[in-house]
């Protein structure tokens, strides 16, 4: 199981505060829902915090938002790869892009160190098992992630973080073009891609209902087994 728990990273309530900041205080549930531990499959991606210059509060907030988005994509593509129900080209895309996104998760967690947040829990509601809904959803997420990174690039305080976000941004655009190509949609529709806001990303995530709470599988009731 993941060693990073909400308790260990949010002693001062700073995370909860940061999420209010991120989501304008209105849809705080988005990130809070899954923060009850979880992320077991991502335990393997934990790295010790690297020696880094301190990230500013603004950069931490931006990186945490990105981390949550990467958690979602990594989990979705990993599940699609493992379940193997999508078509061959989609499966190959999930494998390659999933490896990229899992790499992003690990790298952003490394940069955040103790400021990292644990992964939400997800219910992908069949999207990882159905080719059409998977490709539609992947197109939406890759397009929107690339759009968000533009806005964040202009906002980050550190130029080194900007360089890192830029290096991810063009890769997300590759992902977007590739999955569009697989889905027979034009990979590059416009000469200039649009930026987007955190609000629009939160709206997309909420519309999927992917973020869920962990089911209760532990109990304190006296067992009624046959003995």
């Amino acid at each position: 199981m993941s060693g990073l728990t909400l308790e260990s990273v949010d002693r001062s309530g700073a995370i909860a505060e940061a999420f209010d900041e991120l989501t304008g205080g209105t849809r705080a549930d988005f990130f809070r829902k899954g923060l009850i531990g979880g992320g077991a499959m991502l335990a393997a991606l934990e790295t010790p915090a690297l020696a880094q210059p301190r990230n500013t509060k603004k950069d931490v907030a931006i990186l945490r938002f990105d981390l949550n988005l990467e958690y979602l994509q990594a989990a979705m593509y990993s599940e699609a790869e493992r379940l193997g129900q999508v078509r061959e080209r989609t499966l190959e895309w999930s494998r390659v892009v999933g490896a990229n996104e899992r790499g992003h998760v690990k790298a952003i967690r490394g940069l955040l160190g103790r400021d990292a947040v644990p992964s939400p829990s997800f219910n992908f509601r069949g999207v990882t098992e159905d080719d059409r809904t998977f490709t539609e959803t992947a197109v939406a997420f890759e397009d929107l992630t690339a759009a968000l990174l533009k806005t964040q690039a202009v906002q980050v305080d550190s130029r080194r973080v900007l360089a890192a976000l830029a290096s991810l941004h063009s890769v997300e655009a590759r992902h977007a073009a590739w999955i569009r190509h697989i889905a027979n949609i034009v990979p590059a529709a416009e000469a200039f891609d649009q930026p987007t806001s955190k609000t629009k990303v939160v709206r997309l995530v909420e519309s999927t209902n992917f973020v869920t709470s962990l089911p209760r599988t532990r109990g304190r009731r006296k067992p009624g087994f046959t003995g």
């Binding site: 301190r54 992003h104 790298a107």
Partner: protein, 218 residues
């Protein structure tokens, strides 16, 4: 000389230190961080004495530097626009490569126009290029398109962190589309569109070398 010292002390000293000195010294990033160490100039002096030459700390974004950067990026866009124009004039491609060239050519022309309009009347003019049979042979076309688009992504990523923030947005909106071009044409070519989780940022020298390696003479 004093100007060089001043530049290292003021502004984004962290970047000056990280960009130059940590290539010379084996200090950990943590040790390089403290502004106190940098501000005193002591670290810079030690860097010189250690036998290495510090990089010119001229990377602080500025409107003047933006101009130089945009002129450079315009050169990269010129090559691409000229390539796709030559391909369309040649009319030798069929099917999806033809469709790709037409659409992407429109984008590259738009990129050229946008950069020229930012630079105003003193913008450099478009050079002439000779692309040989890369514009007519379908396999050579696809390989060349991959090379040019990869080159553009790396060149843009190399300069984005050096731009002032308004120009960062402009360049991000362009590199995003270049990266889509790469993803598309690599899939067309049967190559992995996203072999690495992060794209390289090329220096000006690296981009120049890559341009020369294409063999397209002006």
């Amino acid at each position: 000389m004093s100007e060089w010292f001043t530049r290292s002390r003021s502004g984004d000293a962290r970047d000056a230190v990280d960009g130059g000195l940590d290539r010379l010294l084996t200090l950990t990033r943590g040790q390089l961080v403290t502004r106190a160490a940098v501000g005193a100039g002591a670290v810079t002096a030690v860097g010189v004495v250690a036998g290495g030459l510090p990089r010119l700390a001229a990377s602080e974004p500025s409107r003047e530097q933006d101009r130089s950067i945009l002129e450079w990026l315009l050169r990269v866009e010129y090559v691409q626009a000229a390539f796709y124009d030559a391909v369309e004039r040649g009319g030798a491609l069929q099917g999806e490569p033809r469709e790709y060239a037409a659409r992407v050519g429109r984008h590259e022309r738009a990129h050229v126009e946008a950069l020229r309009s930012e630079l105003g009347p003193d913008a450099p003019e478009r050079p002439e290029f000779d692309f040989g049979d890369a514009t007519s042979d379908p396999d050579r076309f696809v390989e060349t398109a991959v090379a040019l688009e990869e080159l553009a992504v790396a060149a843009l990523n190399g300069q984005i962190p050096n731009l002032t923030r308004p120009r960062v947005m402009t360049a991000m909106r362009i590199v995003s589309v270049e990266a889509r071009h790469v993803g598309w044409v690599r899939d067309l070519a049967g190559r992995n569109p996203a072999p690495q989780p992060a794209d390289r940022a090329a220096t000006q020298d690296e981009t120049r070398a890559a341009l020369q390696a294409t063999g397209f003479k002006e």
